[in-house]
């Protein structure tokens, strides 16, 4: 972890610039702010990359990205299921504020009426004000009606599926049973998911066998076409969410079976994207981040991923549901190393806005923190806490090393029923990442501090109107 940046001059310039004016633009020597590429996997768990401990999913491209950049080990998403997690990333706000969390339905469905409210400001809209070219490639899941699509949310271009790849199901078999008993019986045509280009359906059902490599190709094409201006690509892979599909070239590529093949195809695509950034001379002024929307979907057994040493998975507020791999790469910008500081997908909104010189909106609560000094300079992260919502209820809160669970509940038939805890369960996540050893009795003062954090949060919480409940 001692790779020296080759362009310390630029780095020094950026650092001085930021010190003088914290919110101002990070520019290279041409005065151009950095490009951003967010690669967002779907249902990939904390333990699903080789650099995060997986023994048979081999991800050499992501591992090299981690080695050359920053590997974060305490990085969280805003919710443990698709729709609210994506809303959190793109708005920098807890889903409970935007109305993208609901007690009726945890995500949007093909018969949902609504989507991300127009009043919300996305990271793409932020970056448009600084002249960025913007593209959303992949799964959206923030509303499939035209007014909710990426092209109405700050993205110049969209190519992808509007909701999860297991929706619009036409078959009559149970995927879970098929996955466990007869995986070859699962076909893309059983899922009538449309593939959109901008607001137009160009393929239905989407050919999910080739979708991963087409997302990568679209990303590369967009980068090449926009290499003379700052750009932002939000590449949200629709896999490894079940049903799992892989291209011919990656069938049997992994020892981990189909799930591993899918992740290794995504890893390969990451390698292709980094290669093109180098070829185009953009690597010194581009930040690429890889993470995932929530933890692994455990009931699908080997068709679901692994949370590694973390407890439980998707749908829960245990660590396995909401802590994710997070790798930041940018040879000219990111100071390499292991980072065990706290971070959140919501911080990408504030950080990339800051690096692009765009003001953070001051007419609303923004939950994102500006972690640019941690990325560029390995300074301590300004983020000191994480709030763990399930739908519209706060289940747990982390402050520094400590996490208090006020409510625990499994998901998808695993990890138990809803249970309230008073005093809350308390874990030292730095010493006990697996949440095994409750230390609430010994630490009433820490619980008081976390209670104070929660009270402050509640005192100024304005809940958005539920956008997920209404259906047609």
């Amino acid at each position: 972890m001692t790779i020296k940046t080759k362009h310390s001059g630029i780095l020094l310039f950026i650092i001085l610039h930021l010190m003088l004016s914290p919110n101002s633009m990070a520019q290279n020597s041409d005065g151009r702010p950095p490009n951003f590429v967010i690669i967002f996997a779907d249902d990939l768990g904390y333990g699903d990359l080789s650099s995060y401990g997986n023994p048979t999913i081999l991800t050499p491209n992501l591992d090299r990205m981690a080695h050359e950049g920053q590997k974060w080990t305490n990085f969280y998403v805003g919710a443990s299921v698709c729709t609210p997690s994506r809303a959190a990333l793109l708005t920098g706000r807890l889903p409970v504020r935007s109305g993208m969390a609901s007690n009726e339905h945890r995500v949007l469905f093909p018969n949902s009426k609504n989507g991300l409210p127009a009043s919300e400001i996305t990271l793409a809209e932020q970056l448009k004000t600084a002249g960025y070219s913007t593209a959303a490639i992949g799964k959206w899941h923030l509303g499939h009606k035209e007014q909710y699509l990426p092209t109405n949310n700050g993205f110049d271009y969209y190519f992808g599926i509007p909701y999860s790849n297991d929706m619009d199901y036409l078959g009559n078999a149970d995927y879970k049973k098929l996955a466990l008993q007869n995986p070859s019986g699962i076909k893309p045509e059983d899922y009538n998911v449309p593939l959109l280009q901008n607001a137009k359906i160009i393929e239905r059902p989407a050919n999910q066998h080739t979708i991963t490599k087409r997302y990568t190709a679209e990303t590369i094409e967009f980068i090449k076409e926009n290499n003379d201006e700052p750009f932002f690509v939000y590449l949200a892979h629709s896999l490894p969410h079940i049903p799992l599909f892989v291209s011919k070239e990656f069938e049997g590529h992994s020892k981990r079976g189909l799930y591993g093949d899918v992740v290794e195809e995504i890893d390969h695509g990451v390698g292709e994207i980094l290669k093109v950034l180098k070829e185009e001379g953009l690597d010194e002024n581009t930040i690429v981040v890889f993470t995932s929307d929530n933890g692994p979907w455990l009931p699908f057994k080997t068709h679901g991923g692994s949370a590694g040493l973390l407890k439980a998975g998707k749908g829960t507020t245990w660590e396995g549901g909401m802590r994710e791999p997070a790798i930041f790469w940018g040879p000219g910008l990111i100071k390499p190393g292991l980072v065990s500081e706290l971070g959140s997908t919501m911080d990408l909104f504030s950080t990339f806005s800051s690096l692009a010189g765009v003001e953070i909106p001051n007419d609303r609560m923004i939950d994102g923190k500006d972690i640019s000094q941690t990325l560029l300079n390995r300074e301590a992260s300004p983020r000191k806490s994480i709030l763990f919502y399930r739908s519209t209820e706060l289940y747990a809160a982390r402050l520094g090393d400590y996490k208090a669970h006020f409510i625990t509940q499994g998901a998808y038939g695993e990890f138990g029923e809803r249970q309230e805890h008073n005093p809350p369960l308390l874990y030292n996540l730095s010493h006990d990442a697996s949440e095994k050893f409750d230390i609430s009795k010994e630490n009433p003062a820490i619980i008081s501090q976390i209670n104070a954090l929660v009270e402050e949060h509640n005192s100024n919480l304005i809940r958005g109107k539920d956008q997920l409940a209404e259906r047609e």
Copy 2:
């Protein structure tokens, strides 16, 4: 993972040489066979390095070693507790053959009468025949009487403690309780463990606060003194076995608490050793391997380590007891990459013998395989199976991807009582490393293959006389 070796000429020479004569010496251009350094941690688990997924134990030196070399993800030890595991590594033989496994006592104690039989051939004895200088630094645990010490087992030099660091206990408190309630009450002087130089006690009780850095310093001194001849150092750290101690410089170094501090001090020492190898111009002709003797001691909670995504820990034949991190480094020799092939500490005996041009003994069964072509050339590993013994009983066997458990049993009060299984439990470890999904019913043919492997093993098994049972 695309680092190119800078000395492909030497590598090509070695490969051609090995192709022509598989057992012959791997030499550099001076005709000198490679040096070997084995760094063996104590009770460190599969999930205790950042490169194997730990979020708060940061091991940048080992991670860089993995990035520049080979990171193995299916590498096993010969037993899940200290004494038999060490016997397996040094003899290349299952402990049941050498008598270093027993149903009476699982390891040697200060009042044990015996040790590794003189008839056994250690890796050090092998390498002595090729003119190597040899040193054992650290914990021995193969017999503390003079005739059993390293200096009577092929090592020119010894510096370390003869058994575990929690033995010769003088205090009257329970370590486990102290570790959980009052860690500051644990003192090195409560453990009357002697520190030996060759066969002489030079300090008693050993100052365990400084022992890790002294082991590193001794290793570096030995390397510097022997840099003009081939050498073999077996550096067996006595930590992070409990009780945990760390030097002043590493107190509070880690976010993981004392356990993390200890591992980070070991990691720092690894970095110092690699630095010296480079400074001495030895890095192109030295192979360094890092691994551990068995899985984490889980009942000690945060004073014990983590097996990551693997099940259970020390003392068991679940994966968490016997699969370990294993990193091979050697810029001039090892072809970098992720290796998910099977390997075992017993293979070090055969592989290093082969690379040094020393014949493998043919008067006894050797369980080690020569994995040199996997190390040098990324060829498939010749190892296709792993046998999981607990004491003198075979509990489980792995063949390719599949592991059958004939008997399961927890250890130290966790993970349940002894239970026999017929048919055995069966897991596909490549798809299901966490041993969650028993697939025995669907796979009788695979069970038959594993049964055949076990029958063949049993048919020519000669059990050594129990060396662990007798006490004074």
